[in-house]
Symmetry: none
Subunit: 122 residues, 4 copies
DNA sequence: GTGGTCTAGACCACG
DNA sequence: GTGGTCTAGACCACC
């Protein structure tokens, strides 16, 4: 996996796992890779994965069974989806509006570009 | 001016100045406050302002006359606008599309929320 | 390392590192000393080294892995060489020609002196 | 007159005057413009011209008659020429050799480029 | 451990 | 007066 240099790696990993859960590749209540294994797979320091898992646990997306490993929560999918929607509407959207205003961009223009890019990315 | 704690102050200052230029409060080719003056006004260390001004100069938004002070470039307004638009279309928009997809949000839904929030913020 | 008093130290460090790369003592993609270590070695404030490293990164000569350290770029040698050649042909050479003209120096005379000095310096 | 932003203006003025003397436009023993006049002509702070004139006086190229003004020395032309030649051979030439070595440039290559540029600049 | 940022304070060259 | 550089020392996020 490629990481960009600006955002902290452990947060990028969290986003990545959110995505795996949203798309169902990591189902609810399933066991997830051990810290070590994921660290090897992602070519990352184990401490970094620990940090990601800890954050996911705080979010209620992961659960920890001592001596056994980490599992996704029973309602992991639902949980991630609502978290992300909330973050989207309360943080990303206001920021979007602010930059659109400062750049004199109308909603119409946005939709236009959005439509064009949306298709090419399918 | 209030600074949030996550983003570096000198970058927040740069964004702030971009905004002043975009809204025309700092016109093209005008002299800007001296490093010391702005530092006092923003209650910040002069070195921090130096860093912001240096970055703005590298962006071609500021110019420098030694022993005299800093000035906005002749085409500062145009320059900032194109920089920000480019950043928007090449970075923010793709990110927006990605999150919309992962949240199963349609363009229509986005526009709806956008319209609602847009008005409340006037 | 000795620094002359006119040119900023952080630029002298950059030139020094360019030289280390050009002569292959710092190979492509290698890890370079940490900011603190080099600061100790050069008897200089860490901030000064930070400034040099940051500039080298902007030049694409260095790359940065967070929490790990700085590395020379994969094409560091090539990059430095082309940068310095360009600077030579676009800046130093025109200046040379100008002074030669104002001093009534012919190319032949230059070559003569050049040859003499070249040998003594071996 | 256009000034580049890196070299101090007062030094650029000194070089400019050297050039005027070398080409005979300012003859030996002639009166030179007053500080004020030259400052107006060059669109520069009078203090800056003072600094240039002072340096020229220290070099023995100018002489000062109090209450009257500045004059070029009787041997100004000769003096400037020898100064510049000395500077060239003792400073610029060694620097040239050093950069040529670090860039693996042979004297032949230099001459080649020199010839090409020399003609286009006539 | 690594780099990134910020403050405080100083000195300098320049206009 | 202006900006440019440097030191000293601190705190932080990150790996």
């Amino acid at each position: 996996m490629q990481f960009n240099t600006t955002e902290p790696i452990y947060l990028q990993i969290v986003s990545h796992i959110h995505h795996l859960i949203l798309t169902g590749r990591w189902g609810d209540g399933e066991r997830v890779p051990s810290v070590r294994d994921l660290a090897v797979e992602l070519e990352v320091n184990p401490n970094t994965v620990v940090r990601s898992y800890t954050l996911l646990q705080e979010q209620g997306v992961f659960e920890n069974q001592r001596g056994i490993g980490y599992f996704t929560a029973k309602d992991a999918g639902k949980r991630v989806k609502s978290m992300r929607r909330q973050a989207f509407f309360e943080e990303e959207l206001p920021a979007l509006i602010k930059t659109m205003k400062s750049l004199d961009l109308s909603v119409e223009e946005l939709v236009e570009h959005l439509g064009a890019m949306h298709e090419t990315n399918i």
